[in-house]
Assembly symmetry: C2
Homo-oligomer: 335 residues x 2
């Protein structure tokens, strides 16, 4: 492990000059620069990141706060992997690394402590509870952070989310265009952002088409399979059952599909179904789930861009506005 001092001696310059070659190359003469660069390659010099961080107070590391606790156990993020890849790709293009923060003890300042100990340049939040004080603490402390699907704002915070209302509207439009008038919905929990937004968007779109949405056509689920099954069961037992259902999540949509099939209804003829998310399963399960696809890669890319912008910007520059990603209706067999 060659150090900067060895490299400097090796080419007869000061350590300051070597440092400049790596940090502000434009400031050193071309001849010196080339000599140092060649020598660096020759002896395999690698700058020590800890020493750099200690001297500059910037670690070139982004913390990833991925809360694996607050959800029902067994919960799997529908596209965590894509987000991670996009994030990693976009950040590493800027020389930033991703540090997975442990969600350890329940101290409300645990994230902030990690940020300070490691001199993290910023934080990305995935799948966090909306009222987690550890998350709010980050925002208040002025740490650059961007949340995914969580409306977190502050002087140095922003978030990225899908156009949940718009996507639900696309679902409604699609069903109306297919001739449906009796359209029900299985919602997510009303207290969740996506749950509430998708219901609102769905309701607004139906209203725009002059299609009524009676109260018994709105049944709340919890985004999991079973709740979709139960909801469909209930809808089918109504005096005037719907001819189409929009489920605010694919897993619920699949549960609904199974319940409909079990009840002897054919999809899409007896009952049409549209989901939300476009999980992997959606394309695989017969007859193919029609669903509203989110921009999976966009989450990671947009988050990285926003974060980098905040990190590079002067402190007084306000945080970028929330980023709302458009959705795409993907028509398959169920509607």
């Amino acid at each position: 492990m060659a150090t900067i001092r060895e490299l400097a001696r090796h080419c007869g310059v000061s350590v300051a000059t070597v440092s400049r070659v790596f940090n502000t190359p434009e400031v050193v003469s071309r001849e010196t620069r080339q000599r140092v660069e060649a020598a660096a390659a020759e002896i395999g010099y690698l700058p020590n990141e800890s020493a750099r961080t200690l001297a500059t107070k910037k670690s070139n590391m982004i913390g990833l706060v991925w809360d694996t606790d607050h959800r029902r156990s067994g919960w799997r993020h529908p596209f965590l992997q894509e987000i991670l890849v996009a994030l990693k790709t976009a950040l590493s293009a800027q020389g930033l690394h991703l540090l997975l923060l442990a969600t350890g003890a329940d101290e409300p300042d645990r994230h902030l402590r990690a940020v300070r100990r490691h001199n993290l340049d910023g934080v990305v939040l995935i799948d966090n509870g909306s009222r987690d004080p550890a998350v709010l603490g980050l925002a208040e402390a002025g740490i650059p952070c961007v949340a995914l699907d969580l409306p977190l704002t502050g002087p140095c915070c922003t978030y990225v989310t899908s156009d949940n209302a718009g996507g639900a509207g696309q679902a409604a439009d699609h069903l109306v265009t297919r001739g449906h008038r009796r359209i029900a919905t299985i919602t997510g929990p009303a207290r969740t952002g996506p749950g509430a937004e998708r219901l609102a968007g769905f309701r607004a779109a139906l209203a725009a088409h002059d299609v009524a949405l009676p109260p018994e056509y709105v049944v709340e689920g919890d985004f999991y399979l079973d709740s979709g099954r139960a909801a469909m069961h209930r809808l089918l037992s109504l005096g005037t059952p719907p001819t189409a259902v929009f489920a605010a999540g694919d897993e619920m949509a699949i549960g609904a599909l199974q319940a409909a099939t079990a009840a002897g209804r054919r999809t899409p003829d007896d009952i049409a179904i549209v989901g939300f998310d476009d999980i992997e399963l959606a394309a695989l399960i017969p007859p193919g789930l029609t669903t509203v696809a989110q921009d999976r890669t966009g989450f990671g890319t947009a988050a990285a861009e926003a974060l980098i912008a905040m990190i590079r910007a002067a402190p007084e520059v306000p945080a970028p506005p929330p980023i709302v990603l458009p959705t795409t209706l993907t028509a398959r067999g169920t509607a």
Copy 2:
């Protein structure tokens, strides 16, 4: 951001003593220790990790090399998320953090460089190509590392894998016990470890039952859905088609199921199917895929344990032997 010097002054001791309170508390007097601890809490002192790393050459960080490039694009690891959670949990219990290494340019020493720059204590490899020189370079350099599902060995390397042969044997046993004699298999690529091992285990188990495996009953797939579909199509068109099929991966099994259904065969009566992996979909798709489940959490936990053992061990201690996780046959509707 209080420093160790401020804290030391605050309680009238030397910085050395403060350092000992945090690193070797048993060596300082109880009275001094408590005084320092109280003061630390009071002024919110947090040790600076970069400074510690610089002084000790140990970062308490583990590199995560997760190769997102070598697979077909769109490839998703069947249970990356569970592995990450288990890994994170087990490592953070030891005060270790996980640093996601960027798979940037194609330099064969890119991982090693990252390890050296950041003073990483060890590396976990997920989903890497078997002949990646950057991976072999790590092993040769004597960096403590553990690979997942990749037979990487060395003075300081080990790996964890499922008992692929045993699991395939469980599938064979199950089908024979159900009375099948004409049993085919859809394999993974022969060049992949899991592909080869599952075929070998399957073959051995059938032989143990005196059940023949004619060459036309072995058709190679690529672990993806379409190859399962195509393979089943071929098997059903045989002069003497099988009554049961073991697919070496769930996605292929589901493809096979779809092809059988499309061909008018009923599962499990006309054709039984067993998969491998127990992906989420397996339980959801009717009639429920019978499959060989891997110990998803075990991967992360075992990897963390092995890595920690290597890091803590003296240099001359040999690396732990490969860890082979048992599988579990999960019987559902298809066999």
